[in-house]
């Protein structure tokens, strides 16, 4: 009987963890949601996301709804400012140690869902010469998201709205020299979304996106890519930028215009680096602590015995959600969250049935 009311421990209170906790509760099982920060909402909250690609919904509103649902659910216990520091036991009967400030407490859990997510690639590690830490007007997708949310799209150097903005794709991804050989999946969609938002806020601005390939899966093609080109006149140029240098008070970017087969140099006043994803420090920590297999990039390995199970980790009873396992967009995150919730609840009930 004790096992039947064992909660599912959800580590991480971002979109993945929130959705997992809510789904666990909707299946009638208690959930214990532990979040390191003092707030819920994960990356969309910490990085002030403006709008989501899903119909350009306001991010704060959408995530806020999810947070409210979880906070209001009687079956979900939420502990913020709390970390999981130790774990023993096995599927059906895990014993975890939680720490909040100086205090620790021991809790039981029947299954564990890891939703510790991603962090952005640090642009200082880029192979190409983007000088993020030297030039105020070179920013990242996260920086731009915050500016869009505040309706304050300006050049950090002088506080003036930019006339020409350039996005550079694949920063920190698809690169053998950096070691992140994978594609981060979301940056093409996010950049196109941001390009549209910039044009909405600054109709006179010219916006360029420099890419290797535009990854516009499914409806991103017709909902983002085509409108960006057709309605908002965003210029997509196939050719990645090799360096950013000062030119007067503007920035000079250099690349090859591969379509026209010639070197190109463009002067712009704001550059947005489409930085990719990496496993977050939380993901690495929790993976180590729980003894979960990780791939060479540090992501938690999923797949299970068939290779087709996107939430199964190397440890029975522990499941992984979203960007803690691979570059993931919100759809991936919600889908795996629901699946992990189902598997977690099933695990607990199977163990209970056996006993």
């Amino acid at each position: 009987m004790l096992q039947e009311i064992s909660p599912v421990l959800v580590i991480g209170g971002g979109p993945g963890g929130l959705e997992a906790a809510r789904t666990v509760a909707s299946l009638g099982q208690p959930a214990l949601l532990v979040e390191r920060r003092h707030r819920l909402g994960g990356a969309p909250d910490a990085e002030h996301y403006a709008k989501l690609t899903h119909g350009f919904r306001d991010a704060e509103e959408a995530i806020g709804e999810l947070v409210a649902a979880v906070m209001g659910d009687p079956l979900v216990e939420v502990l913020t400012g709390t970390e999981v520091v130790a774990c023993a036991g096995e599927a059906g009967a895990f014993r975890v140690t939680l720490r909040h400030g100086q205090e620790t407490q021991e809790r039981l859990a029947g299954a564990i869902i890891v939703a510790t997510g991603f962090q952005h690639f640090d642009p200082g590690r880029e192979t190409q010469m983007y000088n993020y830490y030297s030039f105020p007007d070179v920013v990242t997708l996260g920086d731009m998201e915050a500016m869009l949310k505040a309706h304050q799209v300006v050049r950090p150097s002088n506080g003036q709205p930019p006339e020409r903005v350039a996005f550079i794709q694949c920063v920190g991804s698809r690169d053998r020299q950096i070691g992140n050989e994978f594609c981060s999946k979301v940056c093409c969609g996010i950049a196109s979304k941001q390009a549209i938002e910039i044009k909405q806020q600054l109709p006179q601005a010219r916006v360029f996106i420099f890419y290797i390939d535009m990854r516009m899966y499914g409806y991103w093609e017709n909902e983002l890519y085509w409108p960006a080109q057709e309605r908002y006149k965003v210029n997509y140029v196939k050719g990645i930028v090799s360096e950013i240098l000062p030119k007067g008070d503007k920035l000079l970017i250099r690349g090859e215009d591969t379509t026209m087969s010639r070197p190109m140099e463009v002067t712009v006043d704001l550059v947005v680096l489409s930085v990719g994803m990496e496993p977050s420090s939380g993901t690495r920590q929790v993976a180590r602590m729980l003894g979960l297999a990780q791939n060479k990039y540090g992501y938690i390995e999923a797949g299970g015995s068939s290779g087709l199970d996107p939430v199964a980790t190397s440890r029975p009873g522990v499941f992984v959600v979203g960007a803690a396992a691979r570059p993931a967009d919100l759809d991936d995150t919600f889908a795996t969250a629901g699946m992990a919730a189902a598997r977690a609840v099933a695990t607990i009930r199977q163990v209970a049935a056996v006993r």
Partner: protein, 412 residues
């Protein structure tokens, strides 16, 4: 959301943080570890960096050892042939610090210039030329310090090929056996500008010429930092750790203003072959992409670089361009020459500036140096040599006090 800073403030805060890469997260394996593994298997010898050495960080945050003393000076053809002040200043600096060094006659060119110009060679021959030089150094007990940027880059890539291809190694070993030489590779391949870099504070301590009125543009050598890119000095305090620190760090230590320009990463246009037999390319590139850009955007008092080919290209390309009314006239110096000058070296006995094509007179005048008097001193040396009174210039001549605080440094 209200407790947060405005997006601009947050962005500006982030910018203050320089890059400090974690060596554990380096994407490529450390070649030195592979080298030691080969040594453990008896395949080759590794010559260790002697003490004293200074540790610096390279691109992925790994530590590189730069030796200070007991160096075997691996000379550069282009320097010794056409820019003798370059080599002289490097050795003069060694002598000023009382260091023990070896200037070998048992040394050939790295032959990299020829290889990149004509490809009239092959991997095994190039590796053998390198290993013959390394063995010669090893036999003396002195540690090789590479004077030329081309040699440095070439040796870095050859070392990688040697480590990764067992067949090549066997072929190389067979020929070395014939020559009676061991197969030995130094633990670190060290460029002289890295030596100057780690010595920069000691050089600044002995500075007698105030250079705070001077603005310089740095031209980093392609073969220094682009080949085997992880093996070059990066420092979080210089360019926020995003560009190589070598040369820039020295100039800053000497109080020189280093100005950025929009073609910093461009090659100088040396081309190896082009500068000899297809010179319109080299001239055009050096002037249009480097010198004119520096003139237009910064108008520096000098450009400083750390490679033979770069000094040659930038210095010698400007004359022909003047005939085409291009905006040229930026004196070109090597970092070792600048360091030596700062410490009071004679502009002609040591820096040998009379071998430079672009006009260095305005620069010396700006530094408050009485170059006419020093040229007269040098002409007296030349006259004495022509009269047969002395066979040539000696180190004693070169080390006689030239520039002193009282005589030459005039307050501005």
């Amino acid at each position: 959301m209200s407790e947060r800073l405005s997006p601009l403030s947050e962005i500006r805060e982030k910018k203050g943080l320089p890059v400090r890469p974690d060596p554990e997260a380096a994407p490529r394996s450390d070649l030195r570890e592979e080298l030691f593994e080969l040594e453990a298997r008896g395949e080759l010898l590794v010559q260790r960096v002697p003490e004293p050495y200074v540790e610096v960080t390279t691109k992925f945050g790994r530590v590189k050892k730069v030796p200070i003393d007991h160096l075997w000076h691996h000379k550069s053809c282009g320097q010794c042939g056409h820019i003798p002040g370059y080599t002289t200043s490097i050795l003069w600096l060694n002598r000023q610090f009382g260091l023990d060094y070896h200037d070998p006659t048992d040394q050939t060119s790295c032959t990299g210039w020829n290889y990149y110009a004509s490809a009239t060679s092959n991997a095994a021959a190039q590796i053998l030329v390198m290993c013959r030089n390394f063995a010669a150094a090893y036999e003396t007990g002195y540690y090789p310090l590479i004077h030329c940027g081309t040699s440095y880059g070439h040796y870095k890539e050859l070392r990688e090929q040697l480590v990764h291809h067992a067949d090549l190694r066997d072929q190389v070993r067979r020929v070395l056996d014939k020559l009676g030489k061991p197969l030995v590779v130094p633990e670190e391949i060290v460029h002289y500008s890295e030596w100057v870099h780690v010595m920069r504070h000691r050089i600044a301590e002995r500075q007698v010429v105030d250079m705070s009125s001077v603005t310089a543009c740095v031209h980093p050598a392609c073969h220094y930092y682009k080949i085997v890119a992880e093996d070059a000095i990066y420092d979080p305090d210089i360019y926020g750790g995003q560009r190589t620190a070598t040369v820039t760090a020295l100039l800053k230590a000497l109080g020189i203003t280093v100005a950025d320009y929009s073609t910093w990463f461009d090659c100088c246009g040396f081309g190896f072959r082009h500068i000899l037999v297809q010179r319109d390319f080299t001239r055009s590139f050096a002037v249009l992409r480097k010198i004119e850009v520096m003139r237009d955007e910064v108008d520096p008092d000098m450009t400083v670089t750390h490679d033979t080919g770069c000094v040659t290209t930038l210095d010698k390309s400007q004359f022909a361009a003047k005939a085409h009314k291009r905006r040229v006239g930026v004196p070109v110096l090597a970092d070792s020459q600048v360091a030596a000058l700062a410490m009071g070296a004679h502009p002609f006995r040591v820096l040998q500036l009379h071998w430079h094509s672009t006009d260095w007179r305005p620069l010396l005048e700006k530094l408050g140096l009485d170059w006419q008097r020093h040229w007269q001193e040098f002409e007296e040396d030349l006259a004495a040599i022509e009269r047969g009174e002395k066979p040539g210039l000696t180190w004693d001549d070169a080390e006689r006090p030239a520039l002193t605080r009282e005589r030459d440094h005039r307050a501005h």
